[in-house]
């Protein structure tokens, strides 16, 4: 069974983060789960990890609607990072707005746009 070394959850919804962590643990494939409350904290963390030559997260789950630096602003910041091509980002949002889904395709770092809820099947699929 393939293992995912590290994953970021960028989301300010406490209940969602808690529940998603539980689901991730149940798949037994995700070990180092790091959650941050907005895009700004995530950029900071990524920069620090990269500077320390630490391994970058294998996956990033990104919410869109967040305070301080929202999902889109985070993606714009990621574009400026020299190591952006090493990042695999999944947008995980409550949005079903076709305009937002279309917009997500403009970012090469975004693998896909997933509308909540997240299921065990999907987690197995992307980690498999």
């Amino acid at each position: 069974m393939q293992q995912i070394s590290q994953i970021y959850i960028i989301d300010d919804d406490d209940i969602f983060v808690f529940v998603l962590k539980k689901l991730l643990q149940k798949t037994k494939r995700f070990h180092d789960i790091i959650d941050v409350r907005n895009g700004s904290e995530a950029i900071e963390l990524l920069t620090v990890q990269h500077a320390a030559n630490a391994k970058l997260p294998e996956l990033i789950f990104l919410d869109l609607n967040m305070p301080i630096l929202d999902g889109w602003q985070f993606l714009d910041e990621v574009e400026k990072l020299p190591f952006k091509d090493e990042l695999k980002i999944y947008i995980i949002s409550s949005s079903i707005d076709p305009k937002e889904i279309e917009k997500s395709k403009e970012y090469s770092t975004v693998r896909s746009f997933v509308s909540k809820p997240v299921t065990m099947e999907w987690l197995h699929k992307i980690s498999g």
Binding site: F16, P67, S95, I96, D97, S115
Partner: protein, 414 residues
Amino acid sequence: MRQGKISNNLLFTQQHFDLLATLYRSSINDYHSARNVYEVITETAAKGLYIDRASFWRIAEDRLICQNLFDSVSGKHSIEKDLPACALPNYFKALKEGIAIVADDVLTNEYTKELKDLYLIPHGITDMLDLPIRENGVLIGVLCCEHRDDPRTWSASDLAFARALGDIMTLLVEQCKRRMAELEIEKLYAISKKLNEKLLDFTYIISHNIRSNTSNMSMIIDLIDDTEILEEKREYFQLLKESNNKLSDTIHYLNETISIQLGSKESKVKLNLKSEIEKTLLGVNGIIKKEHATIKIALPEGMEIRTIPSYFESIMFNLITNAIKYKSPERNPVIEITAKRTNSKTVILVSDNGVGIDLHKNKNKIFGMYKTFHGNNDAVGLGLFMTRNHVEALGGTIEVESEMGKGSTFKVVL
């Protein structure tokens, strides 16, 4: 009389020719309104016919109603008193049947002598050239060219010139009306487009905010389903309850928003601005004291505002409590409330010395639903959204200026 430059046999005098050419070359864009068309026509008539008075009257059921009178002696436009139709049967008959009433001597003319005591003698009119104006074949008005003092014999050029003026006026007024109708349609189109966009926004807000709760709930239910451990089930059940409460709150606020947007049953009343704001301050006295906030009010004593009291109170309540809630950690909150009248609107400014908002990043979202900026845990992101809804329901606007670390100023125009 000098003849026109196109041909020696031309009907028009050079003066008539030139004046008409100017009018024919004009475009509807040169006139602001039908009234402005009347003014130009009566002025041109007075100039071209060398007369003291030119006027346009609209025919109502039982009277003639003056739309515009140009007096070339004073150079001023005014309105003449209505004339009763019942006293003028022959005059009306001539208007209905002909293309002009040409009266060289108004007091003896068969059609105009009815006007003698009512109009002609009081105004000293001796000669008249009156043109019926029709719309869709039906008589709707009359263009009156009135000469005073010395006897006058109207020439063929006078008649043709005046008739042409009448026709140009009809054309221009028609175009003016069409332009007005077009503008009205454009305005309605813009309004319905805006409403549609708002509706679409609202649909996405609903789907997003309701979905975020229901999707959490369905994930929790999956977790409950997946475990046999009772203790774990209990924990998830607690989360389910929490999610359900959040969903209820969301629906409650959405309902509130809809009822604001549908318009209040309360109607606007006149309020004294200062005493109204002081009333709101009484309601937030507790938090003012707790946070050591200073509120400075600089409002003109007698200033009044027409508004819906509960909406106004909610707007002021939200702005004041926000200003305190997002205080700077380095100083006690100081809030200034000022107001002024500009262009018949009331401009209210609420300034604070709080943490400020990064408008560069948050410009488009500050008044949106569930948008919070400070990572503050008790920020729910509904206050400014509701405030904007209240302001817009009152027909007003709200803007913000802010500097990080220095403070924010909210500007409400009602």
